[in-house]
């Protein structure tokens, strides 16, 4: 069955990729299956300098989900280019780099460096980071700031740019419009919802950082809603994510308006999940009467939501 999909200039052999931050730089998962089977690989966020991230504990389980506050730990953009990308170089599947930062300048520097590496076929812009210059307000919750950031990145990067939207906003459609207007080539949605858990024993938040990002099946209905809303106002390719664990979930995301999907938290429950989803997808599509992935995208539900 034909599972291939084009996201603008980017051709994927199938719509399934691991989500940023849940797959490291691929090495560990390559011990479980051949990474060439994946539609694409999104690597962990890169920042200008190496970061240690937050203190531990950094993860906590929640009902049908989890919280994380890794805090962008990574070896820095240069470290990634030197030590992590060589392993991915020979892969026959697109590698998408996730870019983060605390200032517009940092984002731009990281995006520029990664865009110049041939292994990287697209950039995913993680705008859920706190903007230190603006006193910690996320880049992802102010449409004007997101617009400016997107424009600056487009200026230095020739690679397709996917802006990854934060769900912690009242008006996701406004955010999508802003970044499309600024030149985004696609959207990734959604990042995590901000959450917290408190330990009744210690009376303190479980995460050392206090709050963390909620991911997993718990947030799937929010992701589906946002993708559906945004699909009504744009033709940009959308990489959908948020709680995917089954091939039926993939179908739901594509019917909502996604063109490809990313799997995050589920990799922790089952390291083989991406491979298994790809293997099972043709049967699921047939079960629901489709002969190709393209047919599902055309069957998209375009009812305007209220």
């Amino acid at each position: 069955m034909k599972l291939n999909v084009n996201l603008g200039e980017l051709s994927l052999k199938n719509p399934v990729m691991p989500a940023s931050g849940c797959f490291g730089f691929g090495k560990e998962f390559s011990e479980f299956y051949d990474l060439n089977q994946l539609g694409a690989i999104v690597i962990k966020a890169a920042t200008g300098e190496p970061r240690y991230g937050n203190e531990t504990p950094r993860v906590a389980e929640t009902a049908a989900g989890m919280l994380n506050a890794i805090g962008l730990q990574n070896p820095g953009v240069d470290g990634i280019i030197e030590r992590e990308l060589p392993f991915l170089e020979s892969l026959d599947t697109p590698v998408i780099a996730n870019v983060a930062g605390s200032t517009i300048e940092e984002y731009v520097m990281v995006a520029e460096k990664l865009s110049n590496v041939s292994t990287i076929e697209a950039i995913e812009l993680n705008i859920s980071c706190p903007n230190v210059k603006e006193g910690g307000i996320q880049f992802g919750t102010d449409p004007e700031v997101a617009q400016e950031l997107t424009k600056e990145i487009k200026r230095v990067s020739g690679k397709p740019l996917f802006v990854k939207l934060s769900p912690n906003v009242a008006d996701i459609v406004g955010m999508a419009k802003a970044v499309e207007h600024a030149g985004a080539d696609g959207l990734s949605m959604i990042n995590t919802l901000t959450g917290m858990r408190i330990d009744p024993h210690t009376k303190k938040p479980i995460l050392a950082n206090g709050t963390g990002g909620l991911s997993g099946p718990a947030i799937k209905p929010v992701a589906i809603r946002m993708i559906h809303q945004v699909r009504q106002i744009t033709d940009l390719p959308i990489i959908g994510m948020g709680g995917i664990t089954t091939t039926e979930d993939i179908l739901e995301f594509i019917l909502a308006g996604a063109d490809a999907i990313a799997v995050g938290t589920a990799n922790f429950q089952d390291p083989l999940v991406c491979k298994n989803l790809i293997d099972q997808l043709p049967n699921t599509l047939r079960k629901y009467g489709y002969e190709s992935l393209q047919e599902v995208r055309e069957a998209r539900c375009t009812q305007v939501s209220i």
């Binding site: 797959f23 560990e28 991230g53 531990t56 504990p57 009902a63 070896p75 922790f268 390291p271």
Partner: protein
């Protein structure tokens, strides 16, 4: 709990762990790390010993013989002891850190003399002492409790100092405050510390389980580089 499968062939060192899926479906998205407390290569089983502290270990405790459990592993680096011979060794355990030390001691005693110090909160919390006593003459096992309700009253470090001059090396596993105290006290002999940290992936990909380190990158991953580290590698 004993698990039967093929995994025991892969357990080359004491101190490694398995990462266990909890429940069916996707209510519990995170696996639980549990140390391998013993291995029986003839019967193809591994033994786990755990304390029920929440939903995951509660679910584990409800499994009955014959149930299947989805376990990933063995993960990480355990206690490297192939070269450790004819030494006088101090093994220090606290609470749920005790189980992996059973497997460790079983292997150590073949070539070494071992003093085991086990610390618990109170009499009710004491477990596995009997098992340690079965190792025979080359193993001496001492128990301390915080409240003195069993064995000596005090902390493991209170007695560890008595043995430190005499020992060539220590191995320890237990709660973080205990590990810190042990590390700070036993500075003169090489130490091997098994850490606990909340985990995501359990295979080194998510950076959930890091610990500050003296190494070049400034960190180690408990799930992949550990859980066992040499005492001068980690900053507690």
């Amino acid at each position: 709990m004993k698990l039967k499968g093929e995994m025991e062939q892969l357990v080359d060192q004491p101190g490694r762990f398995i990462h266990i899926k909890i429940g069916d479906g996707s209510f519990h998205m995170l696996r639980r790390p549990i140390s391998i407390a013993d291995v029986d290569k003839e019967n193809h089983t591994i033994t786990l010993v755990y304390k029920v502290t929440g939903k995951g270990t509660e679910w584990l405790s409800e499994r009955v013989a014959g149930d299947k459990v989805d376990a990933l592993g063995p993960g990480g680096q355990g206690f490297e002891i192939t070269e450790v011979k004819n030494e006088k060794i101090l093994v220090i355990g606290g609470g749920v850190g005790v189980p992996p030390l059973y497997h460790l001691t079983k292997e150590l005693v073949e070539n070494n003399d071992v003093t085991v110090i086990l610390g618990f909160q109170s009499k009710e919390a004491v477990f596995y002492e009997k098992e340690f006593n079965q190792f025979g003459d080359r193993v001496q096992t001492l128990v301390v409790t915080d409240d003195g309700s069993y064995g000596e009253k005090g902390l493991v470090t209170d007695i560890a100092s008595e043995f430190s001059q005499d020992s060539t090396r220590y191995f320890t596993c237990g709660p973080l405050p205990m590990l810190k105290a042990v590390k700070n006290q036993l500075v003169e002999i090489p130490g091997h510390i098994s850490l606990e940290e909340r985990m995501g992936c359990g295979i080194g990909a998510c950076f959930a389980c890091v610990c500050h380190s003296t190494n070049e990158s400034g960190y180690v991953k408990v799930c992949k580089d550990g859980p066992v580290f040499s005492s001068n590698e980690v900053i507690l």
